[in-house]
């Protein structure tokens, strides 16, 4: 409505075309200023100022930090964090309680359809009014920045920003005219006399629109834009705070009362601690973001042109680039996931788990049940292990690179190890919790527990069946657990059957598949299953007999079971990570080394290293001394054949003759280590009959 009277509506020159663009511009401007007004009515001027009066540069750099990875270093990230903290402060810690009382809106000031729509939208979101206002203002701020950027080109076309401004104001006046007339006809009661309004309106319009615009433009001309943004925020926010402090001043009160008819009188937007804190954060963030935005605007240096001038990569490229690659990336990784059975199974189970979690969370929010929601969070926590397993299964198929010279297969083992640690942590926490509860058993409400845990149990059982299908040998055992879980009395018995199953499984796969990652995931699912079984059993016990102690006892037992079933996994993973001689090849390698001893012309061997690199690779290196009349390549062939039979598939064999040591001692005057090694070799030559045992 402030846009009603325009002093320079008539003063400017004529344009022929681009009216449509100007029209669009005007409509967007109107919508943004309406949003702004609405936010103003909801939050009060102080908060509106804090939120809305940011320079474009600040917001653009904020958005670039948030949505592109190519932010401008740590300082900018800090600035963005400050900005977000400030907004959160306004949202959470600003107890503008008086506004919350205004929950019921008198029909009187739903002036228009737009306002009404916004009110219903905010009411639907279920937040308090001023919080809604804060969100609205942030939205409006983003819109404003987009609007300004879009209008920049148009303003050049039309011939100067001032002209565009004037024209668009004119158009928006024309747009708003009929609406205001309709409003003034329908809601006559509110406005008594137009004449009393004209004076303050004129001043407001003068200050808000014209002065602001001209000051802004002169500042932009005279100073650097970022400097303007940097120093402009200080006086704005500080003066806003001061005004907010002296808000009870009669004149300002009067002004405000006129500006927004009846709405503000009942409420006071008091200056709370949260506002002050957020104002400080806003100042800091504006300072940081605008000061560094110079660097960000220039883009990143990518090199030098042939003439020697530096070439920069601008932010716009980064935007386009990331937006292009994200869907493709998702598509490709999905394709990769579905390619192989391991990752496919984990993926499907993850989807199922997440689905269950979200159903649980949604239902929890719907029925306002805290237990359900917290259980949902717990499920999310568990899902992180699955996600890790999925990533490991995916990464293990990547091609080898310079850095990962053996390939990525070892990631599976590492992920299995981390999963084992994860389970240990879980077992530890469950153990601590249950000990605490054993000492002081709390009263439980078993009302909601049963359906949730049964649901979880079903999901996890599906997972167990799926995963143990992958390891075909464990199938029977999982069937057993399926049956035993249905009738949950005699808890010890079925706990044991489960446990035995887990144990047998882990040992079985150690011999066969040796995929630590899948083992970790499987154990995780198993632990979850045990958890839900425990819940069911304890619920039954509590409901039937009122034994509240059953709950901590159950969880104690489960914690111990989880711990015990994880130990072999961690042990195996540790052994692989520590480059142990692979236990399943140990005997064969001994035999192979003995065979090597018997090769014709071979004196001895040293430094036999054999280790399992990943599920598919067993690597080995060995140094072999031979007499000087043997052909090296034949020895290499023979040794390779023997060791390949023993299961080593990535071999390096160094064949040394006496000449080698002579060369070495001739070459390495500086390397005393090698000399010592040579001497050792000489001495070893004489005790060649197998005294050097690996």
């Amino acid at each position: 409505m402030v846009l009603f009277q325009k002093p320079f509506s008539s003063g400017k020159t004529i344009t022929k075309h681009q009216w449509i663009k100007i029209f669009k511009h005007a409509v967007a401007g109107c919508i943004i200023s309406l949003l702004w007004f609405f936010g103003l009515t909801l939050c009060g001027p102080l908060r509106t100022l804090l939120l809305f009066e940011h320079n474009d540069i600040v917001v653009i750099s904020l958005l670039s930090v948030l949505f592109t990875s190519s932010g401008g270093g740590p300082a900018k990230t800090r600035g963005a964090a400050f900005f977000i903290i400030a907004v959160i402060c306004l949202l959470l810690f600003d107890n503008d309680d008086l506004m919350a009382k205004m929950a019921e809106h008198p029909e009187g000031h739903h002036d228009s359809a737009l306002t009404h729509m916004l009110y219903t939208a905010i009411a639907f979101l279920g937040v308090a009014d001023h919080k809604g206002g804060v969100l609205l203002l942030v939205l409006a701020l983003c819109c404003k920045v987009g609007f300004h950027t879009a209008s920049r080109k148009l303003s050049i076309d039309v011939g100067g920003a001032k002209r565009l401004q004037a024209l668009s104001h004119l158009v928006s006046v024309l747009l708003l005219c009929p609406w205001v007339i309709v409003l003034s006809v329908t809601t006559e009661s509110k406005v008594e006399s137009w004449f009393s309004l004209i004076m303050p309106f004129a001043t407001v319009i003068f200050f808000v629109m014209i002065l602001d615009f001209y000051v802004d433009s002169t500042c932009a001309v005279k100073m650097d834009v970022s400097k303007c943004a940097r120093y402009g925020s200080f006086p704005i926010f500080i003066s806003a705070l001061l005004f907010g402090n002296f808000w009870t001043h009669p004149i300002t009160d009067q002004l405000r009362a006129m500006n927004k008819a009846a709405h503000q009188e009942s409420t006071e937007h008091v200056l709370s601690g949260g506002v002050v804190v957020s104002a400080i954060f806003f100042i800091l963030s504006a300072n940081i973001l605008s000061s560094l935005s110079k660097k960000g605007q220039k883009g990143t240096l990518i090199g030098y042109s042939p003439e020697g001038t530096p070439l920069y990569n601008f932010m716009g490229d980064a935007f386009q680039h990331s937006s292009q690659s994200i869907p493709r990336f998702i598509k490709e990784s999905l394709k990769q996931i579905l390619e192989e059975s391991d990752s496919r199974q984990i993926f499907y189970f993850l989807c199922l788990n997440l689905l269950f979690t979200f159903v649980e969370l949604f239902y929890g929010v719907l029925t306002n049940s805290l237990g359900l929601i917290s259980d949902g969070f717990h499920m999310l926590f568990d899902c992180s292990a699955l996600v890790m397993g999925l990533f490991a299964a995916l990464m293990s198929r990547w091609k080898a690179t310079r850095i990962f010279s053996y390939g990525y297969g070892r990631i599976e083992i590492l992920s299995g190890f981390i999963n084992g640690l994860f389970l240990m942590v879980i077992a530890f926490f469950v153990f601590m919790e249950s000990v605490a509860r054993l000492i002081d058993p709390p009263e439980l409400d078993t009302h909601m527990l049963t359906p949730v845990s049964v649901g979880g149990l079903i999901v996890n059982l599906i997972g167990i069946c799926a995963f143990s299908h992958a390891h075909s040998h464990a199938h029977g055992a999982s069937q057993g657990s399926c049956h035993s879980s249905d009738h949950g009395h005699s808890h010890h018995m079925h706990g044991h059957s489960d446990h035995g199953h887990g144990h047998g499984h882990s040992h079985g796969s150690a011999g066969g598949g040796m995929n630590a990652n899948m083992r970790g995931v499987f154990l995780h699912v198993l632990a979850d299953t045990l958890g839900s079984i425990g819940v069911i059993v304890s619920t039954i016990l509590i409901e039937q007999f009122g034994w509240f102690i059953a709950d901590p006892l159950c969880s104690l037992f489960i914690a111990v079971l989880i711990f015990l079933s994880v130990v072999p996994l961690i042990k195996d993973a540790c052994q692989v990570l520590l480059l142990r001689l692979p236990p399943e090849h140990e005997k064969e390698l001994h035999i192979a080394l003995e065979k090597i001893q018997k090769i014709e012309g071979l004196i001895s061997y040293r430094d036999p290293h054999f280790w399992r690199h990943s599920a598919s690779i067993v690597a080995g290196t060995i140094h072999i001394q031979v007499t000087s009349d043997v052909l090296e390549q034949r020895i290499v062939q023979q040794v390779t054949g023997i060791l390949k039979d023993a299961g080593v598939n990535n071999l390096t064999i160094q064949v040394e003759k006496e000449a080698y040591f002579q060369h070495m001692s001739g070459l390495s005057t500086g390397f005393h280590d090698v000399l010592a090694m040579t001497k050792q070799m000489e001495s070893m030559r004489y005790c060649k009959d197998g005294t050097y045992i690996m």
Binding site: R402, R410, L421, L578, I617
Partner: protein
């Protein structure tokens, strides 16, 4: 119960072994200090946990986990003492240096898992904010802070010091460095404390204590209980930030990767090696760190047929030994059998053919996806010297390469025919300048594509 007994049995002997090793370590004077600190740490952690439950503050719990992490780091320190005393056993042939790395990795991962747990708990607390009693909050903070700092500064924790130096900077460190850079612009004297980068552990201890102080203040003044949850999240995120680079670094060591900082040096050395007289190509190079610092590696070197193996081996070892302490070099020649069969008829050579094919077949799949990227592609530099010397053996090797390659890939009869004729050529001992030169130019591109696989063709009967 039977299963549990089955578990316990190895466990007991394990504990017995542990006790024995522990005695070994405890004989050292330095470890006494660590043990003392560990005992104090246990007491401290116990008190802190008690205070956590009495104040009901999750931020303090998150901070207590840092103390527990300290306990782990003390254990790591003990392990590193033990590692220096142990010699490699036959089963762990590389020695126990890696145990140190594993301990660092496990403790950083455990700290992160604890932080994850805190995150989950605080997400639950956002829904229903319990009341926090500030009574022991500040006391707990300062006890934990002083103890942590005391431990950090008084014990020289070698593995963690190394990792925190070598790992990339955490975001916390980056921010502090960024802030302190501007601070040092004002007060230059401070640059010695802050500037390159602060010790991450000291940093996180201080930052966590700071967050807890803010929490205390806000709860005392305004009863904003939500601040407790927020600062718990902040501490958890900081823990993530601090631990993540370290676990990535130690995890990469565990994954047997080539450390990025030595790649430049290694490349230089390998280039040197490949220019040695007689060396045709270097491939299948695997270099990885054994513990923190010491490099191990293996490499395959293909040499000219008439080159002296032991000489080349000595030179290659000599070059690489400056950087790689545990080194194995496999020297191989293509078609090494031929000199022995030189006098024999052509048919012998043809009969030899199956040898090249039988073994590679099953291995094809396993090695196929590993090799191409790992090894240096056949150097463009290698053919010219080989050609310049005009030694008889040089022209042969590419032919065999092609031969072993085309057969498994089944490129058809056409291809099978040509190698045969070329084989015939060589078998008669003509280093034909016209015909086989034509081959050479044709083949130079092939080793660069398939060359890495040629190792497969090399093993014989």
């Amino acid at each position: 119960m039977g299963t549990i007994h089955l578990f316990r049995k190895p466990q007991r002997s394990f504990f017995g072994k542990l006790l024995q090793e522990f005695r070994l370590v405890a004989a050292d004077r330095r470890s006494w200090k660590i043990l003392l600190f560990g005992a104090i740490n246990l007491i401290c952690t116990g008190f802190l946990l008690m205070w956590c439950s009495s104040t009901n503050s999750i931020a303090l719990t998150a901070y207590t986990y840092l103390t527990i992490f300290d306990l782990f780091s003390l254990m790591t320190c003990l392990i590193s003492y033990w590692v220096t005393m142990r010699k490699p056993s036959p089963v762990y042939s590389f020695g126990f240096e890696r145990l140190e790395v594993l301990a660092v990795f496990a403790s950083t991962v455990l700290a992160q898992l604890g932080a994850l747990f805190i995150l989950k708990e605080s997400a639950e607390r956002f829904l229903e904010q319990p009341e926090i009693h500030t009574g022991r909050l500040l006391v707990g903070t300062f006890v934990a802070l002083s103890f942590n700092l005391f431990t950090m500064l008084s014990i020289r924790n070698k593995p963690f010091a190394y990792v925190s130096e070598a790992a990339s900077t955490s975001w916390l460190q980056e921010h502090v460095a960024d802030l302190s850079r501007s601070l040092c612009g004002i007060i230059p004297g401070l640059s010695s404390i802050f500037l390159p980068r602060m010790n991450p552990f000291v940093l996180i201890d201080l930052a966590g204590a700071f967050a807890l102080c803010i929490t205390y203040m806000l709860i005392e003044i305004n009863n904003y209980f939500a601040v407790d949850t927020a600062s718990a999240i902040a501490i958890a995120l900081m823990t993530f930030g601090t631990m993540y680079p370290m676990s990535v670094y130690s995890g990469k060591v565990l994954l047997q990767t080539t450390p990025p900082h030595v790649i430049g040096q290694l490349d230089k050395l390998i280039r040197e090696v490949s220019t040695l007289d007689g060396v045709l190509e270097v491939r299948n190079e695997h270099f990885w760190t054994l513990g923190f610092g010491s490099l191990a590696g293996s490499v395959h070197v293909r040499i000219r047929r008439d080159a002296d193996e032991q000489m080349v081996l000595a030179h290659v070892t000599n070059r690489l030994y400056t950087l790689v302490s545990t080194l194995t070099v496999q020297i191989f020649k293509d078609d090494w059998i031929r000199p022995a069969l030189m006098s024999g008829p052509v048919a012998a050579n043809v009969l030899n053919f199956p040898d090249h094919h039988i073994i590679p077949m099953p291995l094809m799949k396993g090695t196929d996806d590993l090799n191409p990227v790992t090894s240096t592609p056949a150097k463009p530099g290698s053919p010219p010297p080989e050609f310049a010397f005009n030694a008889p053996g040089k022209n042969v090797s590419p032919v065999i390469l092609l031969n072993t390659q085309t057969r498994p890939y089944g490129l058809g009869l056409n291809h099978g025919q040509t190698p045969y004729s070329s084989m015939f050529n060589q078998g008669l001992g003509f280093p034909g300048t016209g015909a086989s030169q034509g081959f050479r130019t044709g083949f130079t591109s092939i080793p660069s594509r398939y060359g890495t696989n040629s190792r497969i063709g090399q093993p014989g009967p």
